[in-house]
């Protein structure tokens, strides 16, 4: 199969990255089976060091850190994944539409996106959250909309190239509608660059959500979430207790993994030039 052949040719770094991602996904799926305690269950004294009972010690309320970390994988990754999907849905839909329709529509939408992109995303998100209030839904919506501007740029550019191909023209002459052209002609051909971009955007969204949760404006306690867990336990670090480094390290671990794989994808996409 093409996929196994591709994997066999993959460089070591990409394989390591893939293993790192799979480990996280495994943890996220099988939490209830692996986790020794409950997500919000208080099991011992606060900020205990690592031991056989508590592999990574306990947090600021005496909950098991290892358990929280596993549940954090599930919550954080799931929310970031949903946000990225939504962002791709919005971005590519508008991007393809702008490219296929062209003319004034394309120009107007592109200008609006330019303006949105000129604004720093973190600041925009902070301002939006102050108005909307902090909840998971508003978090997902705000980040998806902000991030979809990047997806729009790419999908519009890719769709513009495809739009001038003969087979699209043939479909048009056959009398197919705009939506049909977008779905049946543009989408399948735009898939490869969009998939590579998905990894990059996921990384960005994931880090972004973690940062907002760290600032106390993202996913709210008691839900286990890596960014929020760093915030809750931050005070421990000045006593020389390394508890907050576990969730922070987990965030770094997953993004390094995704970046290693994306790096390899980008090299393949650019025709092994670099």
């Amino acid at each position: 199969m093409a996929l196994t052949k591709l994997l066999r040719q993959s460089p070591l770094s990409a394989r390591i990255g893939l293993a790192m991602i799979l480990l996280n996904i495994f943890a996220a799926i099988f939490v209830p089976v692996i986790a020794p305690y409950g997500e919000t269950e208080i099991v011992a004294d606060v900020w205990l060091p690592s031991s056989m009972d508590h592999l990574l010690g306990t947090d600021h309320l005496g909950r098991d850190m290892f358990t929280r970390l596993l549940y954090g994988a599930r919550n954080t990754i799931a929310i970031a994944f949903v946000t990225t999907l939504l962002s791709f849905f919005i971005g590519s839909l508008i991007g393809f539409f702008a490219a296929v329709v062209g003319g004034w529509t394309e120009l107007t939408v592109s200008r609006i996106v330019d303006i949105l992109m000129a604004f720093p995303t973190l600041i925009f998100a902070l301002m939006a959250l102050s108005v909307l209030g902090t909840s998971v839904i508003s978090l997902i919506m705000v980040i998806a909309v902000l991030d979809s501007t990047r997806v729009f740029r790419l999908s519009r550019a890719v769709a513009m190239d495809i739009n001038v191909m003969e087979f699209v023209e043939a479909a048009r002459l056959r009398g197919e509608g705009i939506l049909w052209v977008m779905r049946k002609e543009i989408l399948p051909n735009a898939m490869p660059p969009l998939v590579a971009e998905f990894g990059l955007r996921f990384c960005f969204v994931f880090l972004f959500i973690a940062s907002l949760s760290f600032l106390g404006l993202g996913i709210q306690p008691p839900t286990a979430d890596w960014g929020g867990m760093v915030r809750e336990n931050a005070g421990a670090i000045t006593f020389g207790i390394l508890t907050p480094l576990w969730p922070a390290g987990a965030i770094a671990f997953l993004t390094v993994g995704v970046n290693l794989v994306v790096d390899w994808f980008l090299k393949i996409a650019s025709g092994l030039k670099d």
């Binding site: 303006i115 301002m127 102050s130 108005v131 760290f214 390290g249 993004t255």
Partner: protein, 320 residues
Amino acid sequence: MNDIITMVIKRLGLGLLTIIVISLLIFVGVEALPGDLAEAILGQDATPETVAAFRKELKLDLPPHVRYFSWLGSFAKGDLGNSLANGRPVADLIEWRFANTMFLASSAAVIAVPLAVILGLLAALYRDTLFDKTISTTTLSAISFPEFFVAYILIALLSVKIVIFPSISNINDQMPFWHKIHAIILPSLTLTFIVTAHMMRQTRAAVINVLASSYIEMARLKGLKRMRVIVMHAFPNALSPVINVIALNLAYLVVGVVIVEVVFVYPGLGQLLVDSVAKRDIPVVQASGLIFAAVYISLNLLADILSILSNPRLLHPKSK
């Protein structure tokens, strides 16, 4: 020369337009707020009189378009309104914090810019050697790290394990300069680390791009010395993308400062912004957000203008 001036004016206009559109967006966003802002902030048990007084204070009793222009007008005059949380003028809250933020950001930039450009150049020149691979892997990991991860590692190492730098960067105006520097070493190092990684990767990519062009190959095939190829042929052409990379990363730095300030409880604009978002102190959020945005947009503008100045070909973009 005329072309350049027209271009600069055009870009400036575009930047201004962006800020105006954004301010309008923010304004409409606040308008669309479910319920009345006054009641939301004063709580359930506010008497109708206090609600009315509060609405007058915020000018909520005027029609929206009048309010928008008066808000924009007083903003331009430097009157940023009063904080909802403590009633103090926003301008007073922001002024010295903004100076602190710029102090922190520039301290990081002073180290990061030369370091990143030199490392990036070396990595590009010695491509695919062990040196390049080590640097590339390190920076790839560094850009994947959240800022607070780097920050807490630095605290654990340099503030707890070996006690040399404070983990809380409290500064004030009375402090002598060197004490201030000592206080901000850790946040500044965190920012330097992250920004250097980004900047170095992009510098490397930009230089490799230039080195791969056919005129460089031509110069090499002619038998020119390696140094001469780099200084006379590659450098002038790499200048434009590298300047662009620097300015873009400085813009990133100004925003990245927000999280680092929160970690180190640094009295900067970012810390104020985050606190005010949690308190829903909208006048402060609007003002500090717009200031961040204005700095960010100006630096992006500068990136555009500088890269066009150093590469006049960009003045006449090929139409697609």
